[in-house]
Symmetry: C2
Subunit: 486 residues, 2 copies
């Protein structure tokens, strides 16, 4: 194949009207229109015009990437992606980008003028994620592999070469990383085959949104049990009495052996007290989405400890590593662990959360961190500190992204999925060409299509583009095809 170049790109402000249904509501985020700041990289011979017909399967390979927002401001991320792609990707040869994904990461993240806008945080880092992920998607499509297998096929030395160690060398060095990757070479093929056969364990948040009434929570909890789920997450923090009632309701269902369907798998035992608390072993987690100050979090969550949650997620500001450490210290005697990370904006924040022994569960986000390179950096630190990685998902596109990352963690870093679970929320998958899927055992199915699973249907991009698409301008949109198994 002749050398390919990034000859053009397009940016799409795609917003889905999830606010209408109460999906995604929690104590902090009371109205969410799940949105994607979406980028397509078009390739071709140097200087050629891009073929932008998204329905033309014969076109030169493309890279699809996005970052996730909850509505207003999605246009700001689009503006940032435009600046980054123009500056660091447009006109470049694809081989020059993909042959050194560490250098490509640096070009996108460390340009001093754009870095000033973070540094490495907020809109500019969200936009870096979209751009980095689009390059990976393109790379994996060209190689004909799903992203997780593309990266898992790299040698330990190649893996070390793509990880950004800047600012984290006091916790993990390149030499330590190499040792971790080398140790994971043993039985690697076996783990890959295991994932391809059985998938990866998941938990569901679908039943626990604040905006749902008790009847809907009960119905969705039973439905999740029937789908094979054995970990259930609820939103808390808006009202203590409501939270007690809803936690009691969910516990009364998932702890009742009579409610457990045939073939349902009891979760493996775990080191945190709240896990496997009830007679069925079903696990419940709670998520406060940053609503508390430190002492408030301790007081409030202590009053929910009798419901034996495995962890409280995001008890306070995601920037407050020392605050999380104080909360963890107070709650651990009550058997409640601490999780955070969906808003932890860089490997530096995770480094401190780990150094301060502030969390039990590391929740990386595929769009807050600037792509798999930085995610690997966090996974290495978690591995060194003996913590597990349970990525954040939901929204739009996040399940599609993070399934690759958890598989990669299992194959190349953690080598265990004993206690790891990957968030699953059943929203908006129908808008993707290769949507994430859950098996009848309540597990993610390992993705097999080439790429990073980020190609959105051309009709969905058109219809939900804000504010000009047919949904936002006329209130109409085409119905995407039904996704098998959803």
């Amino acid at each position: 194949m002749a050398d390919l170049y990034i000859v053009d790109f397009s940016i799409h402000d795609v917003r889905f009207p999830t606010n209408l249904s109460g999906d995604g509501t929690d104590a902090m985020n009371k109205e969410c229109d799940y949105s994607a700041a979406y980028v397509i990289l078009y390739t071709g011979p140097k200087g050629s015009a891009a073929n932008k017909d998204l329905n033309d399967a014969s076109a030169s390979p493309r890279g699809f990437g996005m970052t996730f927002t909850i509505g207003r401001g999605n246009e700001i991320c689009c503006a940032a992606i435009k600046s980054l792609v123009e500056h660091a990707l447009l006109g470049k040869s694809v081989r020059s980008l993909t042959s050194d994904m560490g250098k490509t990461w640096e070009a996108l993240v460390t340009d001093c003028q754009l870095r000033w806008l973070g540094p490495e945080k907020g809109v500019i880092h969200l936009a870096s994620a979209a751009a980095v992920n689009a390059v990976w998607d393109l790379y994996a499509r060209i190689e004909g592999k799903p992203l997780w297998l593309l990266i898992a096929s790299m040698s330990p030395k190649e893996l070390v070469s793509i990880v950004p160690f800047k600012y984290i060398s006091d916790l993990v060095t390149p030499a330590e990383a190499l040792a971790i990757f080398e140790a994971a070479e043993k039985d690697k093929a076996k783990r890959i085959a295991e994932l391809q056969a059985d998938g990866y364990p998941a938990y569901t948040t679908s039943a626990g949104w604040s905006g749902y009434d008790d009847a809907k929570v009960a119905r969705l909890t039973r439905s999740a049990l029937a789908q094979g789920f054995n970990h259930f997450k609820l939103k808390v923090g808006a009202n203590l009495e409501d939270d007690k009632r809803r936690l009691g309701l969910v516990r009364s269902i998932v702890d009742n052996p009579a409610e457990i369907p045939k073939g349902w798998v009891r979760p493996s035992e775990a080191s945190v007290a709240g896990k496997n608390a009830g007679p069925t072993g079903a696990v419940v987690m709670i998520d406060a989405n940053q609503v508390f100050d430190v002492s408030e979090a301790i007081d409030y969550i202590s009053q929910l400890a009798s419901f034996k949650p495995w962890f409280i997620e995001e008890p306070t500001s995601p920037d407050d590593a020392l605050g999380h450490a104080a909360i963890r210290k107070a709650l651990l005697p009550l058997g409640v662990g601490v999780a955070t990370g969906e808003h932890a904006h860089s490997r530096v924040v995770f480094k401190q959360l780990l150094q301060a022994d502030a969390i039990d569960v590391v929740q990386i986000d595929s769009c807050r961190l600037a792509g798999p390179q930085e995610v690997l950096a966090v996974m290495l630190m978690a591995r060194k500190c003996g913590k597990i990685v349970c990525p954040h998902a939901g929204g739009v596109g996040l399940c599609e992204y993070v399934q690759h990352l958890s598989l990669l963690d299992y194959v190349c870093v953690s080598t265990t999925m004993e206690r790891n679970v990957l968030e699953w929320v059943d929203h908006l998958h129908e808008h993707f060409k290769d949507p994430a899927k859950i098996s009848e055992k309540g597990r993610y199915v390992a993705p097999s299509a080439p790429g990073y699973s980020m190609e959105m249907l051309a009709s969905s991009i058109e219809d939900y583009t804000f504010p000009t698409g047919s949904y936002w301008s006329k209130g109409t949109a085409r119905t995407p095809p039904k996704v098998e198994g959803h």
Copy 2:
């Protein structure tokens, strides 16, 4: 006066070509075009058309605000300011905004959809600063007072009502803040009069940019001595031998009694060993602009300790409170303190820097933090922890902003300027209508014009608007009037 409303706004992407001169260069930021994402709020009777003639002094009051960037990406901040102002300010009555500046802050910072883009960090927080500051500028113009005096005129209870305590109540409570403000009531009028007579102590960074050769550094150091400066900051971190040579050069000038001009004031003694190290008492500080990992910082700065810098500024990632604590612990026995903050994006980051005892000097930034409300939160925490606040300035507009904040600190919070110094960089002041000024004693002159000193000359906005202004499109720009005393 009839009720005024925010009837319109304009956003301006203003960029100055400072990269041509090497101004602003350091080990991290090698090319800087100092830029302002600039907003003007226009007022008038409800629903009226805005008078946008910036040369019409009879127009209804305006509010001017900006956030600072170093070039590329300034347009992203402009897009974010537009979203925020449209969402939270446009169409609102001015009185409804200014009568509760705590609530106005919340409306600008905590909208859940826009908050997702940070939260409280990066582009969206920089944009919040521009918007919050524009409302303060408008408020102070309407009241006919310089911003610092407007806020200093508030009662302790009013001051508490504007401070955001969210996420910091584990370090400082509203009751503790009230006690600090109440204690500062004593001799308040005396301190205000003192500032109006003698101004506020300053330090200079003008001589120490990486891009300057030794002859220029020597010339500018002597010139700064002649202007009365007694604190000098140099950029380090690009090359150890260069740094040693330049530090030796500066020390050889400022430590030499023969170089000291008549009337020059020896700085007051201080608790950190590196201060007042030489025979003249002149103070030298160094700034690494985040280039080091933690252990690199310790190694490198240890080798500069013999030059007795008061502090090393930004030795590593601004997000790394625990890293700063490790660096401080290692360097304190060598007599070198640690300063940081110009990239610390919120009160939560400062809270941790203080809780971890990671810094000696708190360097707030008027555009990274979302306006005086959040700056006050940080000043209160610094006061409680016994640390001093020396704001970051330079760039474009930052000196104009922070002079108000340091004065406010002295009048209402710290009540001392014994060891506090405010950064001064002599760039681009000529583009402002009421520029910051330095007296012949090397001190900031207390601003007296109504507002937050943020009105840029209409001709400068026009000429330097990117990319359509005459400078960027044709290479020509009008020369602003010379500023007295610069």
